[in-house]
Every structure is written in structure tokens, then in C-alpha cells.
Amino acid sequence: MTKQAANNAELYDLYRELILDHARNPRHFGRLDNATHKAEGINPLCGDKLKMYFNIDNHGRIEGTSFEGSGCAISMASASLLTDAVLGMSVDDADALFDTVSARLTQSGIDEGSAVDIDVDVPLAKLKALDGVREFPSRVKCATLAWHALHSALSHQPTPATTE
């Protein structure tokens, strides 16, 4: 492959159909009135601002998710995918997923075999669509923003999460 063609492929890998779809039609978009946990994520570099809402029941299960805010396609899609993925999960599993996703997105230049794996449950497999950011170091923070906010909401940290 020529260098230009390889670049092109990287670009199409970053802006996959699934990413563009979630960016344009974010799932669970809006406030969640009965949220028990919430957190804000701010990316000072590009001004992305997300608010994540979670409703956690007495058994520590995530019953409801939503988010609002504005940002680039990557941060919006990532937040939207997150709200799908953690719905119905236990808090512990969701926090473990935060660790997995952050590790996966920050490992650059690895092949599929050695990447930290995401359990191939159907909604979770979709998170692999975010893998394209690995080749774009300046965009990793966009993809992890919502996840940091999730982590912060679950641990009930009152201050806004940032990706710094």
C-alpha cells in the first residue's frame, strides 16, 4: 500500500460507519431525571463537554443511562456507545470495562491479537469501532472522555472529570 493509501485507510478506520451513526444519532441523548449518579467530562483542548447520567438501583445495577453535551464525532460516538454498553451492567463490571477500554484505546500500534480484549457480548463488540483512534494520538482523549466521566460518576467524585 502507498503511504497515501494507508493514510486513507486510517481515516476511514477512524470514521467508521458505526461511529458516524452514533455521532449523528446519539443513543440515550438528554438528561436522565431520576439519575442517581452523574459526572461531567471536559476536554479543555477542543471544548468537548459531556454530562453523563446513570441510574443505579439498590443492587448496584445500572438501570438507566443517558448523556448530553456537545463535542466532536469521536467523543459523541464514544459517549453514545458507552450508554448502550453499560446499560444493565453491575457497577463493578462497568468500572472494569472503563479500565479495559482505556487500556485498549491508549495502546498504539498493536495488532489485534495482543490488544486488551473486550468480551464479545454483542453491544460490547461495538466498542471495537473506537479502535481507529489508536493511530491518532491527538484524538485518544476524545474517545476516552465519556469513559473518564463514567469512572468519575461511579466513584461519586464530585468534580468534573477531565482527560488530563
Binding site: Q4, Y15, K49
Partner: protein, 413 residues
């Protein structure tokens, strides 16, 4: 409109070859650098002058009797003389070397304003300012109890002059205003504004960071009290900058920082400050950087700022027409008088995504809020994509920008 119609003949920059950095490939494509408003590239003459200094002449300035120190001092002070001539300051004592526009503005806020203002006084700025011409004034207002007042702009990104005149009241201690907006490219009618302020005895600081790279500046003709600018935006090294200030102001102001070089005599009881401009230059300066800035001035003068302004106007018009030909483009900043800086939005594609897609095609633009968040909120947006042109850009660069934008549209639809 097709590209062919837009392009009667190509506009080519004879100066491009002087900039070694521009002849590289980025992401597999020849580099198109359209981010000169963030930082200009340096011609070989600047790079060589700095390298020569470090190889042959480096020593500290103003203190050694030995030969290298004398050479370093001569080159450093020679650069000051070049800058004085470049902006037509009346005297070299009025040319204070700083680390950049930001430090120049903070110096005026802290040394000129802070000791003299208090509750009941106002500091007047405008809605177009860069954060560097907002936050230093917020700080000094917090410190003194003075009030920060903001003059409004219209939907084209132009100052509303009638409202500005009305805000120039007796209780305004200083007007701090940008010459050219970095986010919108608006050129303010600065000379008339300074004249109005002078009539009311209000001193004026001009943030000239985006003025100096694009047009000839004559501080005596402008009749401003302070003019602040950065070396790296005028194709010199980073970490250099200038505060032009009227001598009478500098005389009356306390030093900004204390240290070596800014004193004549120190005892534990008292210190006698050095003469101007050294009173405001504490510590060892960025000697190599300032020498490089002097070389940048020589280089710009060898072309002529008027020629640069004329060339950039043609290329800017070409760029704006080309951008307008792209479906889904919304131009932000459409003032009648503009420098070669254009912000825009494409469909509902976030500027950060645009920046990545363009970078992947070798096209470097700036995206986001451009350190001017109030400007963005005025337009109800969180950021823009911004293409900014210098005299080393040409119409091929613009064509590549347009092609990259079309590719972005294709990717997003």
C-alpha cells in the same frame, strides 16, 4: 462555481523557497501550512542567524568585557535598533524586549495600571480579544476593584463603533484593543479609535500580535501608548516579543520584575533602577531569539510590508471565493476589512474532526476556540476551523485546502 472559473491564473509565492520547513511531506502529502496565525514559520535567514550566534558569538549580554560578550551585546542591541526602525518608534528606549505579546500585556496591566487604579475605574476591552488581552485585565481588576467593560461587536465580527465611543467615558483608565482579531481576521480601524480615545485622554494599548505579520506598523503615526507583539507570529523565534511604550509612560512606571540587568546599583537599603528600556528587562534575556527576531525584521523589510499586504490580500480573496464555492460552508468573520485569516464551519462537522481529516491530507489548519472563547459564544458556536495565510502560501495551498474539505464532506455523508 468550478475551480477553473475561480482560478484565472495561479498565485505563486516567490518567497516560499526561503522557508525550509515548507518543503516536507506530512502524512504522505506535501505540507500545506495554513496556520500562520498560530505561529509563523521561519525563513532560513532567521534559522541561520540564530545558529550563527550559538556557534560563534554566544555569551551573556551587557556584562562581560570579553570579546564574545561584546559581540553578543552588539547583536542583541542591533536587533532592538532594527525593531525600532520596523515599527518607527521614536527611540530605542521605547522598545522593551519581552517573551511575547502575553508578557507585554501583563507588564502594562501590572506596572502601568495596577498602582494607579481602584474601585470606580474601568478597563475597557472589546468582544474580539484573544484571552491574552482579557485575562491580564481581569486579574488587575480583581486586584484593584476596578471594573472590566467590554465593547460589543456585530454579526460580521466588527466593532460597533458608536457603542465604543459611548463607552469611552471619563472613568476609563485604559483601552486595550486588538489590532487584528486572531479568530476572525477583522482589522479594527485602530487609528481612528486611538484618536477618539486620545481626545478623551484615555491611554490605548494595542494588541498587535496579528497586526505586525500582515502590514506595516508605524507606532508614531498610530499615536498609541502601547503596542504589544510576538516574535513567532512575525516569522521569528518563539519566546521573543516586544512592548512598545511611550517613554514618558515607561519613566513613570515601576519595574515589572526585579533582578539582574534592570539595576544600576543595589544595596540592601535601596536599589537604583537601570535606564530605559533595561529597567523592564530583568534577568538574562532570550539573546539568540532576539537576534533571530532582528533577522526576521531584515527579511521582512527586504520584501517590504506593503508588498506582503498586497500579495496576501489577493490570496485571501482567492481563498474566500474558493471557500464560498464549497456547499455547506459557513464563513465566520466577514468584516469589510480583513487580514488573511478566515474561520469557517462545514456542515455540522465538528472542527476537531475537520482538523484531523485535513491533517491526514497534509493540510494544517487550526481548530477550536482559538483562545477567544467569548468570540465563539458571540456566534453561538464552540469553535471553528481557521485557515490563515502568510506570504509564503500560494493558490495551490488554497486548492489543496478545498480538495481536503470536499474529501471531509464525502467522508461525513
Amino acid at each position: 462555481m468550478s475551480q477553473a472559473q475561480l482560478k484565472p491564473s495561479s498565485i505563486s509565492a516567490e518567497w516560499r523557497k526561503d522557508f525550509p520547513i515548507l518543503s516536507q511531506s506530512v502524512n504522505g502529502h506535501p505540507l500545506v501550512y495554513l496556520d500562520s496565525a498560530a505561529s509563523g514559520q521561519q525563513p532560513a535567514a532567521v534559522i541561520d542567524a540564530v545558529a550563527h550566534y550559538h556557534r560563534e558569538d554566544h555569551a551573556n549580554v551587557h556584562r562581560g568585557v570579553h570579546t564574545l560578550s561584546q559581540r553578543a551585546t552588539d547583536a542583541f542591541e542591533g536587533a532592538r535598533d532594527k525593531i525600532r526602525d520596523f515599527i518607527n518608534a521614536a527611540s530605542r528606549t521605547e522598545v522593551v524586549m519581552t517573551s511575547g505579546t502575553t508578557e507585554s500585556i501583563n507588564l502594562v496591566a501590572q506596572s502601568f495600571c495596577r498602582p494607579r487604579i481602584g474601585p470606580g475605574d474601568k478597563v475597557l476591552i472589546t468582544h474580539l480579544e484573544h484571552h491574552a488581552n482579557i485575562v491580564p485585565w481581569q486579574l488587575v481588576c480583581e486586584q484593584t476593584g476596578a471594573e472590566l467593560v467590554v465593547a460589543p461587536m456585530d454579526d460580521q465580527g466588527q466593532l460597533e463603533l458608536e457603542k465604543l465611543w459611548a463607552l469611552l467615558t471619563d472613568d476609563v483608565f485604559i483601552l486595550a484593543i486588538g489590532h487584528v482579531s486572531n479568530a476572525l481576521g477583522t482589522v479594527n480601524p485602530i487609528k481612528g479609535i486611538i484618536a477618539e480615545a486620545r481626545e478623551r485622554d484615555i491611554p490605548v494599548l494595542v494588541d498587535g500580535a496579528q497586526g505586525v505579520p500582515h502590514m506595516a506598523i508605524d507606532v508614531q503615526d498610530l499615536d498609541c501608548d502601547f503596542y504589544a507583539f510576538s516574535g513567532h507570529k512575525m516569522f521569528g523565534p518563539t519566546g521573543t516579543g516586544v512592548l512598545y511604550a511611550r517613554e514618558a509612560h515607561l519613566e513613570s512606571m515601576p519595574p515589572y520584575q526585579g533582578g539582574g540587568d534592570m539595576i544600576l546599583e543595589v544595596s540592601f537599603e535601596s536599589t537604583v533602577y537601570n535606564e530605559l528600556p533595561y529597567k523592564f528587562e530583568a534577568g538574562t534575556p532570550n539573546i539568540g531569539g532576539v537576534i533571530g527576531l532582528g533577522a526576521a525584521v531584515d527579511y521582512l523589510q527586504s520584501i517590504g510590508m506593503q508588498r506582503i499586504a498586497d500579495y496576501e490580500r489577493d490570496l485571501h480573496d482567492y481563498m474566500v471565493a474558493a471557500l464560498e464555492s464549497v456547499d455547506g460552508i459557513r464563513l465566520i468573520g466577514t468584516a469589510a476589512s480583513k487580514a488573511s485569516v478566515q474561520s469557517f464551519l462545514l456542515d455540522d462537522i465538528h472542527s476537531h474532526d475537520l482538523g484531523t481529516i485535513l491533517d491526514h491530507q497534509g493540510v494544517a489548519i487550526r481548530t477550536g476556540h482559538h483562545c477567544a472563547m467569548p468570540v465563539m459564544s458571540r456566534f453561538g458556536i464552540s469553535g471553528t476551523a481557521r485557515a490563515s495565510i502568510a506570504f509564503y502560501n500560494n493558490s495551490d495551498d488554497v486548492d489543496r485546502l478545498i480538495a481536503a474539505l470536499l474529501k471531509a464532506r464525502q467522508l461525513f455523508t
